[in-house]
């Protein structure tokens, strides 16, 4: 089927859309009274927390709501035609042809049993009936467009032979094969590493311009939306709460939820002591337990009883003076939007105490047999950790930053005793523990070093009550002499993480992600842990919850004088809460220093790229654009010399082929700031700051 004839109205026009899912018990409204328009060539961002209905809107546009989902009101018009009125055949002609969708998980969007080329060629062959030869030509063209190296080899490979970033580029290429007029991107970069994400975002932006495609960009990350979109629509609990151009919404927000959202994300300038984040109080309402009136009412600072909670649907009202800027708030004209943030309680900066943990030249190598079945053949060595050295002090937060495959999880495993070190030493209170596996450690050592895990949905045993799990940890650590004592202590731990005591008898599935993470924290502190390894503890949580959980961690740290090893790839949050930062790349520590040292030049070239890649949701921030080419090399087969040399943009500044020949030495700068780089001091001096906050 060919494309629809030329049309110059809005590409997509959603009006008063309501979508409900029908379950055995009740109707669950997922989207209510939602309107948005996408003009030709425009990129519209759809932002909100998980469960707010943003993906449902995308599925509604694709008319793919499944068995129990149904549009119960409103219209979705594509190029002026109502999608609901179309026959299945017409819809088939539009899907993948006029409207293309890119999903979060690239591997799940590609057919693993089919070569890339074949999958790409299918699109024009089905929709436009072009010949195989022409389709191949087009596939080649598009793969070149998404900047993949060696397009012909790419077309001839299977999805599993590519890396995650390459796969996502192929998915984008597939979406572009039919030159669609509308591209729906549903969290397209969430599964990717930051530097890869930055490259993909850059690509999407450029392609949007080149092909003139309109985009609907769904994301929970305000920074990403700022970088990619022209207009923005903020959703909360199934409704659009604010809509307008990026600059209007970012700089002149007119809805309390938008404001609260911005205050809960760590922007440059936020600081855990002097300017702590403001978490949104309360929880996201369940779809069938929404309050009357304004959905955000119960969590809103500007809530007015009798007005915000009257039983009516609050309409969108236009904000005068701005272009198509609307908000769903009854009081937006009364609120002083420029009022300074009432500062939360300011805290004393705690001074780090004595050294608790010390690592010296820690190495962890894995041997992988080339032939797994018979054990013969050459053995390959994977160098997961190379000469790690650092110290951590009491009540200090040391952030360990790096992307997947940088060896941070291996390091955590060695520290916890799940693996033993190959070389070097780990000193806990001046005792060597690197060769003691966890079974041989005494209870005190085990309870001293504990861990908080990343995935809240995986961190608790789903078939045991919350209280039981914490009590089990107490039992193992030998705390309390009787059940009653342990129960009492468990309830105190629930108080510590600010959960109601009634949660003790709940099953994990009855808790939200943030609550589960709190239980995980309570469990880690059950034995009075002195060192807590937090492995991306908030990365899987929604922004408004992130702030609350981060604050909780900080508060407990302050109280218990814990040493926190905070593993993360999110530099905004690292900057907010850590005292010192260690940047890792392919098993090497490439930079180590205090937070201020690491976030200001001179940088290690990798840190520089990482800083540039992190999206920042602030229009006043200017970033230097550094896009790293290629993917992170595999730890099985690292490049010779400096691990970062394959992607480094400063490589030409080093004379000779030094970077390709030798692993750089630890370069000591002032005050214990160290960088693993061959660059000379003069070159390092020349580096400019990546992030600049424009003068107001």
């Amino acid at each position: 089927m060919s494309k629809m004839e030329d049309y110059d109205g809005p590409i997509l026009e959603i009006e008063k859309l309501s979508i409900s899912f029908f379950t055995r018990l009740r109707e669950i409204p997922a989207v209510m009274d939602f309107s948005v328009a996408v003009q030709p060539g425009e990129a519209v961002g759809l932002v909100g927390e998980s469960g707010c209905g943003k993906s449902t809107v995308a599925l509604g546009v694709m008319q793919d709501l499944g068995k129990n989902g149904r549009v119960v009101g409103g219209t979705i018009k594509f190029k002026g035609r109502d999608l609901a009125q179309m026959s299945r055949k017409e819809l088939r002609g539009i899907r993948g042809n006029e409207i293309a969708m890119i999903y979060q998980e690239p591997m799940a969007s590609l057919n693993p049993a089919m070569k890339i080329g074949k999958q790409l060629m299918e699109v024009p062959m089905i929709h436009e009936g072009v010949s195989e030869k022409e389709a191949y030509q087009r596939a080649l063209e598009v793969v070149t467009d998404v900047r993949l190296p060696d397009p012909e080899r790419m077309l001839n490979s299977f999805p599993h032979q590519l890396s995650g970033g390459q796969q996502q580029r192929i998915v984008i290429a597939m979406a572009l094969m039919s030159k669609p007029s509308l591209l729906i991107l549903d969290e397209p970069t969430t599964a990717l590493d930051v530097t890869v994400e930055a490259a993909v975002v850059e690509l999407v932006k450029d392609l949007g311009k080149k092909y003139g495609t309109s985009m609907l960009f769904i994301s929970h990350n305000l920074g990403l939306v700022l970088e990619t979109c022209d207009r923005l629509c903020v959703m909360y609990s199934g409704e659009a709460v604010e809509r307008g151009s990026i600059h209007d919404v970012f700089d002149e927000m007119q809805h309390p939820y938008t404001q609260a959202l911005f205050r809960s994300i760590p922007l440059p300038g936020a600081d855990k002591n002097s300017r702590p984040l403001v978490a949104i109080p309360g929880n996201f309402p369940l779809p069938h337990e929404r309050p009357p009136g304004c959905n955000f009412g119960p969590r809103c600072d500007y809530f007015e009883q009798g007005r915000c909670d009257q039983d009516m649907v609050i309409p969108m009202s236009p904000v005068h003076g701005n272009d198509r800027h609307e908000t769903r708030c009854l009081r937006f004209q009364e609120i002083d939007w420029n009022a300074p943030i009432t500062l939360g309680e300011q805290k004393e900066k705690t001074a780090p105490g004595k050294v608790v943990l010390k690592m010296e030249n820690l190495k962890k190598y894995y041997e992988v047999a080339a032939n797994a079945l018979f054990g013969g053949g050459d053995k390959k060595v994977v160098k997961a950790n190379e000469t790690l050295s650092f110290e951590a002090r009491e009540s200090e937060t040391l952030a360990i930053v790096g992307e997947s495959g940088c060896g941070k999880s291996t390091f955590a495993k060695v520290l916890m005793g799940l693996e033993t070190a190959t070389e070097g030493q780990i000193l806990l209170d001046n005792r060597n523990i690197e060769q003691i596996p966890i079974e041989e450690r005494d209870t005190k050592t085990i309870s001293d070093v504990q861990m908080v895990f990343q995935n809240p949905f995986d961190t608790l045993n789903p078939s045991m009550t919350v209280g039981r799990q914490i009590m089990r940890a107490l039992e193992i650590f030998g705390i309390g002499n009787s059940e009653a004592e342990r129960r009492k202590r468990m309830l105190e731990l629930l108080d510590l993480v600010k959960l109601p005591r009634a949660f003790a008898d709940r099953m994990p599935r009855q808790l939200s992600g943030g609550q589960k993470q709190r239980v995980g924290i309570a469990r880690a502190f059950a034995g009075g842990a002195r060192i807590v390894v937090a492995d991306e503890p908030v990365s899987a949580l929604d922004v408004s919850v992130q702030a609350a959980v981060t604050d909780l961690l900080m508060e407990i740290q302050r109280k218990e004088k814990t040493t926190l090893l905070f593993i993360s790839h999110d530099l905004s949050i690292v900057r907010y809460l850590s005292d010192r930062v260690m940047v890792m790349y392919l098993g090497h520590v490439v930079e180590l220093g205090t937070t201020d040292q690491v976030f200001a030049p001179p940088y290690h070239p990798y840190t520089e790229a990482l800083l540039s890649a992190v999206p920042i949701a602030d229009t006043s921030v200017e970033k230097e654009h550094i896009v790293l080419e290629g993917d992170i090399p595999s730890a099985m087969n690292p490049p010779p010399g400096c691990p970062f040399q394959t992607r480094c943009r400063w490589k030409s500044e080093v004379p000779g082929n030094l970077c390709e020949r030798e692993v750089p030495p630890q370069h000591q700068l002032e005050d214990g700031h160290q960088i693993k780089c061959h660059l000379s001091d003069e070159v390092l001096e020349r580096m400019k700051p990546v992030i600049k906050v424009a003068a107001e």
Partner: protein, 404 residues
């Protein structure tokens, strides 16, 4: 007296089964009434397929239990009444005695026994063996599958190889070997029973100890009590007439007769052992696969980092979270076991020749199938409905456990 018409037969059978109907109605009323509080079992009553399956299964369970209590049957399943050989359903007795039921509701078989009563008694044969055999197969499979999946490596290789070896062996041939009198005389089935029935003891012992070793006070009285009881039952199970093994050449003493409350007839023991033996490798594989998957979860890592022992992690962190697929497989496995028992009976293996079990009755009826259909048909239909019920139940459970 006149023979009964088809409607009268049906009416009388329904009447005979009235305790079963009453029990079913009570069970369903109670279950549907409280379904929101009963977890997965309660959810079963949201699925029509699950309800039908559960109904079929419970019908046979009640029939078997009441039959064993001599409530439903109309005649003694073993006694032969003169003149009733191969008589069609509804035939009245020739010389009914005082108080005797006057008809053979489903006719007589080729030895003039009442088909209906044998059918009901046959249900008990299945109900008493199949679920127990499945339980034992699960104990063996779980106790070996968990460490194989959790530790991996050489242990996994060896155990998986052994499992494959058993699975590769033709089942019927294995049964023929096991019930051959010469082999029985060497005591092989008894040795197998001694080994296979140890697994529940290991399972329960490790289960309790791994959890309660942190609370010695509780553990020190609970563990001996529980294990003592189980070991006592185990010894009763494996020792017969005061002997563990009793062959012409030698004998091994077992539990004294005074402490032995029950004896398992040799034939049933052989059937039991062989069914457990061929079923456990499949369970082993399922458990191993699930363990491989679940051991990568964060809560397992959390348990490791707080220094839990491997058996605690396997039995309390991994096993409970593998329960969904295991419950479904348990239902299916009872079904397979039922078929296996039918097959064994059909070949006349293990059980005594006059046994009313369905497999044997089908085999008896088969010989005159072209002339008299009625002795073979009811047990075949019974076997079909029970297995169908179990499969539907498993389907319902799978469907419901995946929802919400």
């Amino acid at each position: 007296m006149e023979p009964l018409s088809a409607i009268e037969i049906a009416g009388r059978i329904v009447y005979q089964l009235s305790p079963v109907w009453i029990s079913l109605v009570i069970l369903y009323a109670a279950s549907i009434g409280f379904k929101r509080r009963l977890g997965l079992y309660g959810k079963l009553f949201d699925s029509p397929i699950g309800m039908i399956g559960f109904g079929l299964v419970m019908f046979w369970v009640f029939t078997g239990v009441y039959g064993a209590m001599d409530m439903i049957i109309t005649h003694d399943p073993l006694s032969q009444l003169s003149g009733m050989k191969n008589k069609v359903p509804g035939t009245p007795l020739r010389n009914p005695e005082e108080g005797q039921y006057q008809w053979y509701l489903l006719g007589g078989d080729n030895l003039a026994r009442d088909v209906f009563s044998r059918l009901v008694k046959g249900a008990w044969e299945v109900i008493k063996i199949a679920p127990m055999a499945a339980v034992f197969a699960f104990m063996v499979g779980i106790t070996l599958g968990l460490p194989a999946g959790y530790y991996g490596g050489r242990l996994d290789t060896i155990l998986s190889f052994a499992a494959n070896l058993i699975l590769a062996f033709p089942v019927i041939l294995l049964f023929y070997l096991l019930v051959t009198p010469e082999i029985v005389a060497t005591g092989v089935p008894n040795y197998m029973a001694i080994v296979l029935f140890v697994f529940p003891i290991i399972f329960v012992g490790v289960l309790l100890n791994s959890r309660y070793y942190t609370r010695p006070k509780l553990r020190n009285w609970m563990l001996p009590l529980v294990l003592g009881t189980i070991i006592w039952f185990y010894l009763q199970l494996v020792s017969n007439g005061g002997y563990l093994i009793n062959t012409p050449e030698y004998a091994i003493w077992g539990l004294p007769r005074a402490m032995d409350m029950f004896d398992i007839p040799g034939g049933i023991l052989v059937v039991f052992v062989s069914v457990v033996f061929v079923n456990s490798p499949t369970v082993f594989r399922i458990v191993r696969g699930l363990t491989l998957d679940i051991k990568t979860r964060d809560y397992v890592a959390a348990a490791q980092t707080r220094g839990e022992g491997p058996w605690y992690i396997m039995l309390w962190e991994i096993l409970p979270n593998a329960r969904g697929p295991l419950i479904v497989d348990f239902c299916l496995r009872i079904g397979y076991t039922t078929i296996l028992l039918g097959t064994l009976g059909f070949f006349g293996l293990g059980l005594p020749p006059e046994s009313p079990d369905w497999g044997s009755t089908i085999n008896d009826g088969r010989k005159l199938l072209s002339i008299y259909l009625h002795p073979a048909l009811p047990p075949a239909f019974a076997l079909l409905t029970l297995v169908l019920g179990l499969n539907l139940l498993a389907d319902g459970l799978r469907e419901e456990s995946l929802r919400d």
